[in-house]
């Protein structure tokens, strides 16, 4: 192996170590899916590796990698077909039904719970709890997940999110509320 290739490999090993966290967070915020984020970050590093000669030290490596990642994200959304939104409509109907089903015909709790996981913020340090939370998030329709992620993990404005998701502001807050009802119920059910 030439020393040049060896250098390049060394360089990338350092970059992977230094920047993967941030690239992953960004991709995750943008796509709301762990698997998609992993794929996009991997593609980013592979593209960067193959076009390493184009990298001039004018920008920082992080900026360079982020700009590649952003292109990957745009491509990802471009490729996503319209059919997905039809599937998501069904998922949304189902989720709405599940949330409605928490209440009886008088709109009171069907299975009232008086104690829950409140005041236990340290739960996030618990790996089992995290995987429960993750599974509960996966059950949300994609649109709701995007709404949740953009609200809590990015600084995108509500107007901007609503435009992206093609919903009214009232509808958006309804989505946040329903997602929270769903999550509480799901965590109560699956976490002891």
């Amino acid at each position: 192996m030439s020393s040049e290739t060896e250098n390049k490999k060394q360089q990338f090993t350092t970059w992977v170590d230094d920047f993967t966290d941030e690239l992953m967070s960004w991709a995750y915020h943008k796509t709301s899916s762990k698997e998609t984020a992993e794929d996009l970050v991997q593609e980013t590093f592979l593209s960067a590796y193959h076009s390493f000669d184009n990298f001039k030290n004018e920008s920082s490596p992080k900026t360079w990698l982020l700009s590649i990642l952003n292109h990957k994200i745009i491509d990802f959304y471009r490729k996503k077909s319209k059919s997905l939104s039809i599937i998501d409509n069904t998922a949304e109907d189902e989720a709405n039904n599940r949330v409605n089903d928490l209440f009886d015909e008088n709109d009171r709790w069907k299975n009232p719970k008086e104690h829950s996981f409140d005041m236990e913020e340290h739960l996030l340090d618990n790996a089992d709890f995290n995987s429960t939370l993750e599974k509960c998030m996966e059950n949300l329709p994609e649109k709701w997940r995007i709404a949740i992620h953009s609200k809590y993990l990015t600084d995108v404005s509500v107007d901007e999110i609503c435009k992206q998701l093609e919903v009214s502001t009232a509808n958006y807050w309804q989505i946040i509320h329903r997602s929270k009802l769903h999550l509480k119920n799901c965590i109560d059910k699956n976490w002891k």
Binding site: Q42, N106, D107, R108, P112, M119
Partner: protein
Amino acid sequence: MATLFNTLFYSCKKATELIDSSEFKRLTLMQKIRLYFHKLLCPPCECYAKSSPTIDSFLKNTKPLNPKEMEEFKSRLINKLK
């Protein structure tokens, strides 16, 4: 009985909605009073009111990968770059 309660102090469905909506709009005094009595008389909704901010903080702090997964992902990446 349930209908009278609902009329005076909201249904649970409506109450949970108001609990979450207080984040983006100011409740009127009347709404606050009715919600207060609802929670007083309805432990599950009181429980929801406590859980709601906890869920917020969970959602604010989620990370795509835990430290162990992150290490595995990094070594997978490095292996691919050959």
